[in-house]
Amino acid sequence: MPGIDECLSRAMAIAGARAAGLIDWSSGLALGSVGASPTGDHDTTAAEATDLVRAAVDAATFTAAEDRAVPLQDIILTADSSYHLLCFIDTVFDSRLVLHLWLDRAEGNLAVARFRLQSIAEELVLG
């Protein structure tokens, strides 16, 4: 049964992974981070990823047509040489968490990485 550290290790094992982090987007706190950081500071990464998540979550355009309390599953940002995947974690108790994966475009496969990251996020909660 994986804990936070184990889940981050599994995320880093995804082909092409540059970094993985668990972010509390209610506050912008990095609950855990492994690998490189695009800015050199994981706390900055967490805070800036939180801004992106909040912008999406707070926009009715992206959420109004959905029924669930946690309407978004993930956010995918495509950059020139890398992807950023932000996968929402669904817990029974109240939380606002995302799993962030920084993925190399040349080495990684977006579809595989997205699928894998979602199962890691589920394993973290469901065991």
Binding site: G3, V92, F93, V125
Partner: protein
């Protein structure tokens, strides 16, 4: 009911015991274990709980630092647990949403609490997954620290010398080891969260006040184009929950407990709703004490004084709103009678001006 009252040998500090009593209305407390007598903590000028925890961490201390409103537990210099009157604890977070029944929790606490391995036992029994335990525990720990450290930081110098902080060497929390956090990181995060709250709405006045819905924004406020429209959008689903439960008696801490949400997220939503003119203090402060000095930042002007200047209301505004609602809403009520200050802006012009100013400040 709780066994805590019958087994107080581990919790003899009056302040700490009071905090626990407030937190354990549903009897989550296990029998206390043996611990050394608590030592009073010297609180000199400039002393803050955050600094005290960092100093103890530097000594690789193990024990419980108890204050009037909560406790921080250290194990080998790392913060293993924190609890505050103002933040829901792990039990509340897990039972309010129905993840665990109270009976399940109580049974685990009574069976495994004396051995300080409640968390581990819940995972072993399959009641919780390890991930859930770690996530919920960390959430509760940071949430409690945010309010434990806040009450005495920044402008709270007057309260820093308040008696009642003790350190009980060797005392451990009954939950047992889950995930520990470095003291410096915890303190920095607590301060960062306070800054975030101040950016949303630079007044702590509603943080401890009973809340009720207010009239809402004037009709014109919702039609601003571009950026302005973003700030004035309708409340989210979570914010609507808060509005629905704000009955004029519940404080943000009580709302957080009721809804099983983090106190920080609840406070942030409360401040957003206050900035939007949708939520206000229920007025006479008969419940918790809105701005009667319990929060240092209400007593001594707006928080982050260098960054958020105290508002200077033009004379015209004063004439139109004799209660000086502008000053009340921004916490700048130096030395005034707390009960004399209205906590709502009834004049739509004032409410609009306040929102515009908040918006401008947030964009700086």
């Amino acid at each position: 009911m709780t066994n805590a009252d019958a087994n107080t040998d581990a919790n003899p500090a009056p302040g700490g015991h009071g905090a626990e009593a407030a937190r354990t209305a549903v009897g989550f407390r296990p029998p206390g274990g043996a611990a050394a007598a608590p030592l009073p903590v010297a609180a000199g000028p400039g002393w803050t709980p955050g600094a005290a925890v960092e100093r103890l961490a530097g000594e690789r201390a193990t024990g419980a630092l108890r204050g009037p409103a909560g406790t921080v537990y250290l194990v080998d210099g790392l913060v293993a647990h924190a609890e505050s009157d103002r933040a829901p604890d792990l039990a509340t977070l897990l039972t309010a949403c129905g993840r665990l029944t109270r009976e399940t929790w109580q049974e685990a606490v009574h069976r495994f609490g004396p051995h300080a391995r409640v968390g581990e036992a819940l995972v072993e029994q399959g009641r919780l997954t390890r991930g859930e335990l770690e996530l919920c525990h960390l959430g509760a720990l940071y949430d409690a620290a945010c309010f434990l450290f806040e009450a005495f930081d920044g402008t709270g110098n007057a309260l820093a010398t308040q008696p009642g902080w003790t350190f009980a060497p060797g005392a451990r929390h009954w939950l047992g080891p889950v995930v520990a956090v470095g003291a410096h990181r915890l303190r920095r995060e607590a301060e960062r969260r306070q800054h975030l709250l101040d950016r949303i709405w630079p007044s702590a006045q509603l943080d401890t006040a009973p809340l009720c819905r207010s009239a809402g924004p004037p009709a014109a406020a919702g039609h601003g184009p571009g950026r302005h429209a973003r700030r004035l959008r309708p409340p989210t689903r979570r914010q609507c929950d808060l509005l629905d439960h704000a009955d004029g008696r519940r404080t943000p801490a009580e709302l957080a407990r009721l809804l099983g949400r983090s106190a920080f997220a609840t406070t942030a939503d409360v401040r957003r709703l206050a900035a939007a003119g949708l939520l206000a203090g229920s007025g006479d402060g008969s419940g918790a004490v809105p701005g009667t000095g319990s929060d240092p930042r209400c007593a001594s002007g707006p928080p982050g004084t260098g960054r958020v200047p105290a508002p200077r209301a033009p004379g015209g505004l004063h004439r139109r709103v004799p209660g000086a609602a502008l000053a009340a809403l921004t916490g700048g009520r130096r030395g005034s009678d707390p009960t004399a200050v209205p906590t709502t802006a009834t004049d739509p012009d004032i409410a609009l001006l306040i929102r515009v100013r908040t918006l401008l400040e947030a964009r700086l």
